[in-house]
């Protein structure tokens, strides 16, 4: 009896370790390959002899990219969109979620439905596009001609994130709020000195979600930002990919590195900053997956 148990445990353990190791290596391999291909020599990349480790190491692909002003421009545009976009999203989300968390709010049910309905039904790409064109006109009528501000203000509102925040605020004990009010705190003071410090970890998680969606934003940035100098990194990478995988566009390629190496170098450069900050944000990342809006 005992033996049979141990054997089944052991078999399962062996299977777990084997399959997990295989899966983890599969997850890792493309990154290792990308790094190797970005620093390998031209013929090694083109003849496909780079499999795992780099061959004929060169750093010219990186050097060429770092010399490219467009690259740094795209990076700074991404930082701009991420920073201001996250600030704006957090501003609207925190204020809205705070108001929604109050039981005394009139039409609370209606406002909640107003949010949740956007999770059930979204208009789709083309109506959104038409709407952006219309709001762009409104923006330029009030003097904001810069497309990136429209992207900052219009994009990246997620009902789910607001519901996460609302639930966190609802969890704050009302006695603390009452104590603050007795001490003469105004509504804004209650929010900034009681609610925000008491739900710090949820706020960090939500800010992280907003920041990631801003950092990764591609489609609307490409559709809405007409000025090529204002394109964020994601659009820049895609445009380079389209250019460098077109056999005609690279027909006369005569650099010491392969055209592919440039793309791989770009990919590496866009992942590295995230890997650097990953250890610091990991715990918030894992927390956020505990589904927020769940009611049992």
């Amino acid at each position: 009896m005992k033996r049979k148990l141990e054997i089944s445990e052991l078999i399962f353990k062996i299977i777990s370790y084997t399959l997990l190791t295989m899966f983890a290596l599969c997850c890792l391999y493309p990154f290792v390959y990308a790094v190797s291909a970005s620093i390998s020599g031209r013929s090694a990349v083109e003849y496909g002899s780079v499999v795992l480790f780099p061959k004929d190491v060169q750093f010219d692909a990186f050097a060429q990219m770092f010399k490219d002003n467009m690259f740094w421009n795209a990076y700074s545009n991404t930082l701009f969109l991420t920073l201001y976009g996250t600030l704006w999203s957090m501003f609207t989300a925190i204020l809205g979620a705070y108001a929604l968390s109050k039981r005394r709010l009139l039409f609370r049910k209606f406002f909640n439905f107003f949010l949740v309905f956007t999770m059930w039904f979204s208009a789709g790409i083309v109506p959104q596009y038409l709407n952006y064109l219309a709001t762009r006109d409104v923006f330029s009528a009030v003097g904001i001609d810069d497309d990136k501000w429209l992207v900052v203000i219009a994009m990246g509102m997620a009902a789910m994130n607001i519901i996460l925040l609302r639930n966190a605020f609802e969890g704050v004990p009302s006695e603390i709020e009452e104590a603050a009010i007795v001490d003469g705190a105004t509504e804004m003071q209650v929010l900034s000195t009681v609610y925000i410090p008491m739900s710090k970890s949820t706020i960090a998680t939500v800010a992280l979600f907003f920041a990631i969606s801003r950092w990764n934003g591609y489609f609307w940035a490409r559709q809405m930002i007409s000025n090529g100098n204002e394109h964020p990194l994601q659009v820049f990478i895609r445009l380079r990919l389209e250019q460098y995988t077109d056999p005609e566009a690279i027909a006369g390629w005569n650099a010491s590195y392969a055209a592919d190496s440039v793309i791989y170098a770009l990919i590496v450069c866009s992942i590295v900053p995230i890997l650097i900050i990953y250890p610091f944000i990991q715990k918030y990342f894992a927390k956020g997956t505990n589904v927020g809006g769940v009611k049992e």
């Binding site: 997990l20 997850c27 493309p30 990349v45 496909g48 108001a99 083309v126 994601q234 992942i271 769940v294």
Partner: protein, 351 residues
């Protein structure tokens, strides 16, 4: 509730007439001046309501106004006029798409079918794998080793869609053995799984590989990350449950069946609802970045179909809106349906 006359009328003994009772008079007053009460409450508490304003405006402008634009699917499309001034054309665009009998209608049905197939495969393969991964993670007793495995499997989640698709594109790129063919093409043709011609043409240019590439890259990207929530549910199971099962002679499979599975069932149901809810909402961005004219047969989904119809040079916004409308309505019915079934079946529901 039965309403009795005595609830709102009372008999005045002296004047021998019925009068409206004082309570009812208050109730009538509240009803008559309901909006005034609302106004007074809001004025007294204006700071709280002011806080709602930015959020409401953003959702109104960029979530609800597009829904109004979507009504263009019932109008005669005329880009010069705003939707409000266009003529009502009824269901002509819907008819055109559904039973038009021409190329457009064929393309629409193809896109609809592809949407369902891609999301159905996503559900079949993408949903169980994170659960299995979480079970495997649970087997690793050493915390350090488990962290290493987890970090490695979460890694792809930190790429944006663009970077992920760029990497995929490069790995299966067209070319010959001397002009940088993708490493995966090389491997597959080296193993004899695909012919040299197919490898040279590039897997993304071949419609029969699109679905596999889409699903495998999806699993690669998010299976590890999606397993977090299941793993959290599994480690929350008390060790005494396993011990009790072991004393009853349950081997590993029996423990899975009678201890682990029931404990994480509610998590599975919630994740399944979320998944079904976004079934038709499949990542158009990923499809847009991976497909090309050669692979429309298997890759074109409703969003990308609408995107091509409504945003190109000669935009047909009415047709595009009609296509999106059908996609969205089916999607919404799926969310509400999945939620209702889950609530009835297991008392677990989102929203």
């Amino acid at each position: 509730m039965k309403v009795r006359t005595a609830d709102f009328l009372e008999f005045d003994q002296e004047a021998r007439v019925y009068r409206i009772s004082p309570e009812q008079a208050v109730r009538d007053d509240v009803e008559k001046h309901y909006w005034r009460h609302v106004g007074v409450t809001i004025m007294k508490d204006w700071r709280l309501y002011l806080m709602l304003v930015p959020m409401i405006l953003v959702f109104l402008f960029w979530r609800y106004f597009p829904m109004y634009e979507l009504l263009g699917c019932f109008k005669v499309s005329n880009d010069v006029l705003p939707v409000s001034q266009q003529l009502f054309s009824g269901f002509s665009y819907f008819k055109r798409l559904l039973v038009g009998g021409d190329q457009l209608s064929t393309d629409f049905w193809r896109a609809m079918r592809n949407t369902f197939i891609l999301s159905f495969y996503g559900l079949c393969f993408g949903f169980p794998i994170p659960i299995i991964l979480a079970l495997f993670f649970n087997e690793i007793r050493s915390n350090a080793a488990r962290s290493v495995y987890q970090v490695l499997t979460y890694l792809p989640k930190f790429m944006s869609t663009v970077v992920m698709t760029s990497l995929v594109t490069m790995l299966v790129k067209q070319g010959s053995l001397t002009t940088g063919m993708g490493i995966i093409n090389q491997a597959l043709s080296g193993l004899g799984i695909i012919s040299a011609d197919v490898a040279n043409a590039g897997l993304l240019n071949n419609p029969s590989f699109f679905r596999a590439i889409y699903q495998i890259s999806g699993i690669w990207e998010s299976a590890g990350y999606d397993s977090i929530v299941f793993f959290a549910a599994i480690i929350a199971i008390s060790p005494t449950s396993y011990e009790a099962a072991q004393i009853d002679g349950a081997d590993k499979m029996a423990q899975m069946r009678y201890v682990v599975l029931p404990s994480i069932l509610s998590t599975i149901v919630i994740m399944l609802i979320t998944r079904i809810g976004s079934l038709l909402n499949i990542g158009y961005e990923k499809v847009l970045l991976l497909y090309n004219t050669n692979t429309y047969v298997t890759a074109d989904v409703v969003s990308t179909f609408a995107n091509r119809q409504g945003m190109g040079g000669n935009a047909a916004t009415g047709i595009a809106s009609a296509a999106e409308m059908m996609n969205n309505v089916v999607g919404m019915l799926l969310v509400i349906g999945a939620n209702t079934i889950a609530r009835k079946a297991s008392n677990t529901s989102l929203y």
